[in-house]
Amino acid sequence: MASVAQIPGAAIRPKLSRDDWAMRGLMVAIGLYLIITLALPLYAMMSKSIEIYAFQPANVEFQVDEGQGWGPTINALTRGEELGVLTRDDLVTTSDGRIQATRFFPDFSFLSETRYRIRNTEPTDGGFMIRGLQVTHDDWVEYSSGDFRRVTLRPGLSTGLGNYLAYFSNPALFSSIFNSLTIALISTVVTVTLAFGFAYALTRSQMRFKGAFKTIAMVPILVPSLLPGIALIYLFGKQSLVLKVLEWMLGEEAVAGLWQGLINGTYGPTEIYGPIGIVIASVFFTFPHALLIIMTALAIADARLYEAAVALRAPRPRIFWTVTLPGARYGLISAAFVVFNLVITDFGAPKVIGGQFNVLAVDIYKQVIGQQNFQMGAVVSVVLLIPALIAFTVDRMVQRKQVALLSARAVPYEPKPNRPFDRLMLAYCSLVGVFILGILAVCQYAAVIKFWPYDLSFSLNNYNFDVMDGGGWAAYGNSIRLGLYTAVFGTGLVFLGAYLTEKGRGFTYGRTGFQFLAMMPMAIPGMVLGLAYIFFFNNPANPLNGIYATMAILVVCTVTHFYTVSHLTAVTALKQMDPEFEAVSQSLKQPFYRTFGRVTVPVCTPAILDISIYLFVNAMTTVSAVVFLYSPDTALASVAVLNMDDAGDVAPAAAMGMMIFYTNATVRILHSLVTRGLLTRTQAWRMR
């Protein structure tokens, strides 16, 4: 039989080289990393969402001795229903639910001589406890009345859809679904429209200052999504800056009258808290994401089509509707779903400015941090996963079409000057630019005055983070550390993973599986990921329990959270490299890591820098996942913004938010300098 492989016609089993083994091993290791940091936590969360705690009084029995020996056995369920202490259909509670045993005995007095005994016929589940200690056997336990008052019934653990039923029968909770969808839809329409106009100006006009506008439009990426909310509070909140400015210009009476007239008397200073505020803040922070996608779509549009239309003397609006819009349709759809996903999973904006208006992401936070109801947090997370997964899937499908368009790339379009149109576009972009910079300016202003609106003198008191809740300057230091660790480890991991899947030999199933794993993080909202980490890593039975509440778990979480976009950037860069580099180096008997180090990494350096900057910036600004995972020692700047704002220290929150902005902006500038320097230095070999 051993010679079968030698007979012509028999299937060949390729022998694997040392490189093949090493590459597969590494890929499996990175795949395992993704499984452990993503799939397993999600699984833990799903399991948690179907965990139910319910009293099991049917298993609990009492006997009473009033001096004449033990009386008849009393079943807790029967007695409880008679007394109205509990009902058969309403035993679900949380893990902390307790019922005093004495409630089954209305005439109980702890001073009486009566003796009680109690037993749990199914000692593994529920049963009772005394002074916080569960009794785990099924023998009678006897208590004096003095001790008996410290006996409580506790719930047992089972599984079922009870939590979901509870969720959907609670209007206060499930109305959030509707709220979240509404906010996401409105924000999507507004952002995509605004971004399309901006992208149109940048790609189809000859207006001035294009570079500056492009830069300004990217600014929101550099700040946490909490920041626009804070600015809006200053602008339109209880002490509205806008009102103050108007009053200062027109006089108080006139302004009061103006508001009354304008908004029919409904203007209250707290109006901005709620859907309007959330939408404005969401538009701010999703704008650059939409802009990038739509700009790409417009940039690859075929100039020949456009020029043909011009040659046919089609009027501008007609060209717009028949050529420009259809050409950009995939970009628009993709942008819409990306924005929708960002908004519906965002926690920062609604947290700061949502007021009483509940949305899903904040519900998770409230359930977990506020009420310690982890099961319900898990249920909301699962609910939030559904729209996020749908948006993600549609976006992936559309992106694929867009890529197909890209490869059939046509002549890029060169706009011609058209003064009135260019001016119009300039005016429009200026408006958007003022909105974006205005938000930042307000935050910066609020940060450096003593006490809005009473004392407008300059002061750096708000930067005295150490005297405030939130973690102080140490939190800022932690954020920078997190950013650096995430950038360094994340980039290494992501790039290596992408390299192994792109350039590995054979092992098709493994590589396809890895691609799937690498795409998953994008579909998982940050809040969901963070909560899932609690369930998974905070479990004492987990051998990785040790990283809980350390910097390590923050790094792991952030790397995983932002894995997909980094992975795609790396894959795009790797795909542009000649696929035969690996074949050549194998023929020259060079190990893969040598070619990786001497060719792949140097050639891909710009992409590698892009990935690390992306990871750094996001690590600095992210709140949603890490808000569940930081410990007092690892408080973060972004979380400090949240906590200071929560505690009413809005100005310091703004100050910290601006610190994040300045840090990111500096890093960004450094990055572009380094990239430019690198490209100059390597010009000789990059020249084509």
Binding site: P14, K15, R505, E580, S587, R598, W685, R686
Partner: protein
């Protein structure tokens, strides 16, 4: 026709090297499937030591697939490959002994020319100055002695091609694999490099396999040509042999220009073509078998044909197409009308005999030059 002249004059390559040399690469029963698609079907091939072999065939016929199987880059689904007596069928590329040049050259863009050439020499515990000397020698060999410090992007296509070649031979591999190494270059450079590569190969004596879809390239460079079609080998042989005696109608059609006409076997050595009875080799074919009669335009004799000669008849000259150094004329006339035969006539001949459209000339199809294929062959 320059190709033909090339071949005819270069006598040295007419005879198969096969007879004396020993087999270096042996391929047995090799097949390659991509899913349900069979890219290579049961390939058997022997390549001799020091030989220059070209895989020639239309696009998509499986040339690259076969080359990559030999390299181990895409291992065959079944079948055996033996190199220098060792079974390498399942070995990964790194454990085989070959150098390779791709159509894209795959030069490392961030390394200088010298570093590219040295790439396979480093990491082998060779002393540095030895490597430097070897690189200089190689660059000298391909005429790029002074270009070592440049980056690939600063070189012309032809120069890049030579760098790729010297990188591939730097480690003195036993087998050199070239996948369409010239197709990215413009015509002039290509012709020049053909000779250079061929000369280099002969100097080094390295067994070489080159993939090409350009028949001129294959005919001028190869010791032997492997003509492939739809995943199978149609014919293997020296260029002149392939050109003169195409084994199948596909080869006849693919290489050079060939007249095809429908005929019938009349008896042993007898074929009828329209109104003409031809004498030629009919092999085992029975009388009455419909066949395809094939003859190259340049093999049709128009000069000094005496009437009554074997396979001679009178024809009328139809359209004359001027192709630079000769005319290709359609032959019509009652006896062979519709057969669509075309004959080549030198300018000299045309001038001397005053040939022009409408003239009647005696022509002859020399019996050794006529090839007969079963009729179904062309359709298949």
């Amino acid at each position: 026709m320059s190709i033909v002249q090339d071949i005819v004059t270069e006598d040295s390559r007419g005879e198969p090297v096969a007879a004396v040399a020993k087999t270096y690469l042996r391929i047995e029963g090799l097949s390659k499937m991509f899913g349900d698609f069979t890219a290579l079907r049961n390939i058997d091939l022997e390549i001799y030591e020091g030989e220059f072999v070209c895989f020639l065939g239309p696009s998509g016929c499986g040339k690259t697939t076969l080359l990559r199987a030999i390299a181990g880059l895409d291992i065959q689904s079944s079948g055996r490959i033996e190199q220098a007596g060792q079974d390498i069928s399942a070995l990964p590329p790194a454990e085989r002994d070959f150098g390779i040049v791709f159509q894209s050259y795959a030069l490392f863009p961030n390394l200088t020319v010298a570093k590219n050439v040295a790439y396979g020499l480093e990491n082998r515990k060779a002393p540095r100055d030895k490597i430097r000397a070897r690189v200089a020698e190689l660059l000298d060999l391909v005429g790029l002695a002074d270009q070592g410090a440049k980056y690939p992007a600063q070189l012309s296509g032809g120069q890049q091609q030579r760098v790729a070649l010297s990188r591939a031979i730097a480690t003195s591999p036993g087998l050199l694999l070239l996948d369409e190494p010239l197709s990215a270059l413009d015509a002039k450079v290509r012709v020049h490099l053909r000779h250079e590569i061929r000369a280099l190969q002969q100097r080094l004596g390295v067994t070489t396999v080159m993939v090409t879809h350009d028949q001129e390239e294959a005919l001028t460079m190869a010791d032997r040509i492997v003509v492939m079609n739809q995943g199978v080998i149609e014919q293997v042989g020296p260029p002149l042999e392939i050109y003169r005696n195409p084994a199948t109608a596909f080869v006849a059609d693919f290489i050079g220009t060939m007249n095809f006409a429908a005929g019938t076997v009349e008896g042993p050595g007898q074929v009828r073509l329209g109104g003409v009875g031809l004498v030629c080799d009919t092999g085992e074919l029975d009388a009455g078998t419909p066949v395809t009669v094939a003859i190259r335009p340049e093999d049709i004799d128009v000069q000094d044909v005496a009437s009554g000669e074997e396979n001679a008849f009178e024809a009328e000259i139809g359209d004359m197409e001027f192709l630079g150094s000769f005319f290709r004329a359609e032959l019509t006339g009652e006896v062979i009308d519709g057969a669509g035969l075309r004959a080549d006539m030198s300018i000299n001949l045309v001038r001397r005999k005053g040939l022009k459209e409408g003239a009647r000339v005696p022509v002859k199809l020399p019996r050794q030059r006529i090839r007969i294929y079963p009729e179904s062959a062309l359709r298949g």
